[in-house]
């Protein structure tokens, strides 16, 4: 599904954001990309739908280079950013979900259908006419997810999806992510807080200073996270199995 080959990005100030990242992510995977602040997580994921152009290397989506067809890449790879307030553009919940399909120049009947389906999937149908800035933190995240779902992506990337959320908010968003994975989406989650999500992942990638330093099964990689500035989940420290926050 996603292949990166020697992907590197150097910022205009000369700082290296990511350095020769080569990996392959299969369809239907649930991958957690962890690392401390400044490790290159956000820079890496922004290459996957063409928001950033690599200084060297390339990204392939189903064998097609992202730089060759950016619009296709953005349809295939939906991205949920950290701060929901700065990505909600609609005057109402309905308008915001319709924003993506409108950009794809779909006809109004198809847009209405996609919006209705996405709102239902996100459990926001009853709030369709509500003003987005009046929603709770968890509802805003779900609205952003609904906006992405309306574009029918196959991969959904979450950039620090649990930041600034309370416990019920974390559970709402986590439930949504798990449901999306179960319904066939490939999921990538960036975080520096493994505890909330790692129980659901089938792969953990650790980034440090723009490089992949560990990549493998969560149970194995988790033991080494603290060497690279990421806190090991408490139960893992105690030698227990990490449980889901949904239980």
């Amino acid at each position: 599904m996603i292949v990166t080959e020697n992907l590197s990005h150097r910022f205009s100030n000369g700082r290296l954001g990511i350095d020769r990242i080569t990996l392959s992510i299969g369809a239907g995977a649930f991958v957690v990309v962890a690392g401390p602040n400044g490790s290159g997580k956000t820079t890496f994921i922004r290459h996957l739908n063409g928001l950033l152009k690599p200084t060297a290397g390339r990204v392939l989506l189903d064998g097609v280079s992202v730089s060759r067809d950016v619009v296709r890449a953005r349809q295939l790879v939906g991205m949920v950013f950290q701060d929901p307030d700065s990505q909600i553009v609609g005057e109402t919940v309905y308008d915001d979900v319709a924003f993506g399909p409108e950009n794809l120049f779909l006809d109004r009947t198809e847009i209405n259908k996609r919006v209705a389906d996405s709102l239902q999937a996100a459990g926001l149908s009853h709030l369709a006419e509500e003003r987005p800035h009046l929603l709770s933190g968890g509802e805003k995240r779900r609205l952003v997810i609904a906006g992405i779902l309306a574009m029918r992506p196959r991969v959904i990337i979450f950039d620090e999806p649990f930041s600034s959320l309370d416990y019920p908010g974390v559970r709402q968003v986590l439930r949504q992510i798990v449901w999306l994975h179960q319904s066939g989406h490939t999921i990538l989650v960036t975080t520096h807080d493994l505890e909330k999500v790692i129980a659901h992942a089938d792969r953990l990638i650790l980034l440090s200073e723009g490089r992949i330093v560990r990549d493998g099964l969560p149970d194995k990689v988790m033991k080494e996270t603290e060497r690279f500035g990421v806190r090991e989940p408490c139960v893992s420290r105690l030698g227990l199995e990490v449980g889901s926050w949904l239980n």
Partner: protein, 251 residues
């Protein structure tokens, strides 16, 4: 935060919600023009019409007045200035201030007109989605050559969407500065500069994030717009409004 956003869409199923945004925009312009020319008989007619609109749109007058309280304060200032500076028959004099009968009448008239126009804007914003207002503006600008109608429409839509967010940021920034004792600084310019710089920086940072999020959702100027359909009710409303206000504008 809701109290900081008087000019925002409120969903509903009234006839005003269902009307074509182009007509509503035209009505706003026509009635505002008429209110500037309307006198002692015209303003009550327009105000009556406005009350009907508020009632049809199911907008609570108390809630509106509450949300417009700062504007009402401005009206008091305007009224006082007019009442005290217009020459005419003196009602009473206190030290250097003279209140005149003409000043009182003029102040009432000016404030009435301003309130009418603002409330009309309120009704338009409350019953029309930003996307529809944007589409109506695009429709108006489309025939004008060299004017990027779609870009202007998008900018308008985003401004409407982000006014409440900017207000919220201003409130948060002001609270954070108060928590650090900015009220001990008596110089209002210093306080304004400290608030303004922080607010502008945050607004630009948010704008950057917004651009990335819009790009990520395939933003382009060629988008599917809302469907604007002029129905029979829109034409009837136009006819009624023309009959009512044309005499006010031209007589």
């Amino acid at each position: 935060m809701a109290e900081l956003t008087p000019f925002s869409y409120r969903s509903g199923r009234s006839i005003l919600h269902a009307m074509d945004a182009r007509f509503k925009l035209l009505f706003l312009i026509l009635i505002s023009l008429a209110s500037l020319k309307a006198g002692a008989w015209g303003l009550p007619v327009l105000s009556g019409g406005l009350l009907v609109m508020l009632s049809v749109a199911r907008l609570s007058s108390v809630a509106i007045l509450k949300e417009l309280r700062y504007f009402l304060f401005l009206l008091v200032v305007v009224f006082t200035a007019r009442a005290l500076t217009t020459p005419g028959e003196v009602v009473f004099t206190l030290k250097l201030m003279t209140l005149t009968r003409e000043g009182l009448a003029d102040g009432i008239l000016v404030c009435w007109r301003l309130l009418l126009i603002v409330l009309l804007g309120f009704v338009l914003a409350a019953t029309t989605r930003a996307s529809e207002i944007r589409a109506a503006v695009e429709w108006v600008l489309k025939p004008i050559p060299a004017v990027p109608a779609k870009r202007i429409g998008t900018m308008m839509g985003l401004i409407l969407r982000f006014i409440p967010v900017i207000f919220n940021q201003a409130r948060e920034t002001a609270e954070a500065q108060r928590a650090r004792g900015i009220e001990n600084r008596k110089n209002p310019l210093y306080r304004l500069a400290k608030l303004g710089i922080a607010l502008i920086r945050r607004t630009f940072e948010n704008a950057d994030r917004l651009i990335v999020a819009m790009e990520s959702r395939c933003y382009s100027e060629n988008r599917t717009g809302p469907v604007l359909i002029a129905a029979k009710r829109d034409w009837i409303a136009l006819l009624v409004i023309m009959v009512l206000i044309l005499p006010m504008i031209f007589v």
